[in-house]
């Protein structure tokens, strides 16, 4: 296997030829914020716009998940231009999310908390007007809760359900601000062809999909939080 050497944040590393910068960095303990990235996916989704990095010789910051490593590449994950783009993308994202970590079963394991800390910004940003979707929460699955309001549309659950498991219960529907991850006909999870394997819950970076037993939330009785 051919490898190339590159520098990320001053650290010299080797990576497989054709590997994307994001994975080269993550494999070497350098964190770059990301939500939609899946190593097994054939094509990067490049949907979350959080993994911006600066590459020496390039005028504009690039998304690390789509940029392939090159011999002698010098990457800076902390460049002001890259951080500015990532921060704005993140703030826009949380502007339409209900932020209630104290009552969220995913608090502590939530990627959003991790990213906010990494980018040194607050989850409750004031820069953009809050615009919530206020969609109903689906408690129907015996295993997990699906709260579409907390969904960041990263598409990880959709990919896992379809490509890895070959089931294809979840998918995107509607358009623009109304876009959401749902089942065929927007039916409750329990009435869909979901097999309750829970793989999507494991894949979810936020609290949109969360196991019920974490905080003993009983079917339909739990707080919306």
């Amino acid at each position: 296997m051919k490898t190339v050497s590159l520098t990320i944040d001053g650290k010299k590393i080797r990576a497989r030829e054709g590997e994307k910068v994001l994975w080269a960095a993550l494999d070497n303990g350098i964190y770059i914020p990301n939500l939609c990235a899946l190593h097994d996916a054939l094509e990067p989704f490049a949907a979350c716009r959080l993994c911006f990095v600066e590459v020496e010789g390039k005028k504009q910051p690039v998304t690390a998940c789509t940029e392939a490593v090159e011999q002698g590449m010098v990457v800076n994950t902390r460049g002001p231009g890259a951080l500015r783009l990532a921060r704005t993308a993140f703030e826009l994202l949380v502007a339409s999310l209900p932020v209630d970590c104290a009552h969220c079963p995913s608090s502590g394991s939530c990627e959003l908390q991790k990213i906010a800390a990494h980018l040194s910004i607050k989850l409750k940003t004031k820069r953009f007007r809050k615009l919530l979707r206020e969609l109903p929460i689906d408690y129907s699955s015996p295993l997990f809760i699906y709260d579409p309001n907390k969904c960041v549309l990263c598409g990880r659950c959709v990919w896992i359900c379809r490509e890895r498991l070959g089931i294809g219960t979840l998918g995107f529907a509607h358009r623009g601000f109304d876009r959401l991850v749902t089942t065929f006909g927007s039916e409750p999870i329990s009435e869909s062809k979901c097999l309750d394997c829970g793989e999507c819950v494991v894949a979810c970076p936020t609290g949109a999909l969360a196991f019920k037993d974490r905080q003993g939330i009983k079917s339909g009785l739990g707080k919306g939080g």
Binding site: G171, F184, G185
Partner: protein, 167 residues
Amino acid sequence: MTKEQAEVKQQTKRILNRFGRKRGNLVPILQKVQGKLGYLPREAMLEIAEFLGIPAIDVYSVVTFYNQFRLNPPGKHSIRVCLGTACHMKGGYITLDAWKRRLCIDRGQTTPDREFDLDIVACVGCCVMAPVSVVDDKPQGKVEPTKVDGILLSFKLKKEKQGKESQ
């Protein structure tokens, strides 16, 4: 399965016979099926998904993405509320709310008696008359909530008159 559902399945199958099993045929198939049935019922979408060998959610995804496709049967009368720039400034969304309240349906839906269907439209090109509602393909100008009541009343009277004549 009800008789209507079986009928939908049959008609969808007949249309599908004319197409190859390529994913790229999804939109043309949906257009043909909607052209025939007036909307895209659940059974039709499931049939199409099976035919193309794709998850049903993918069909639903495309149907909900494009404004052209409808999930509800068309009503006898169509109401299209303009929410273009001029109509928006003149309170088109208030008109939409009035229609919603009076018909007890949301946008994209049809009343249970299949008399009216309600949806929005981007602009119909007669902004002078804002806020506009297109009722049965005829643009009506200055449709404020009171005029919504007026239009519905005229439909009601017409229907009553027809009912009396046919007796």
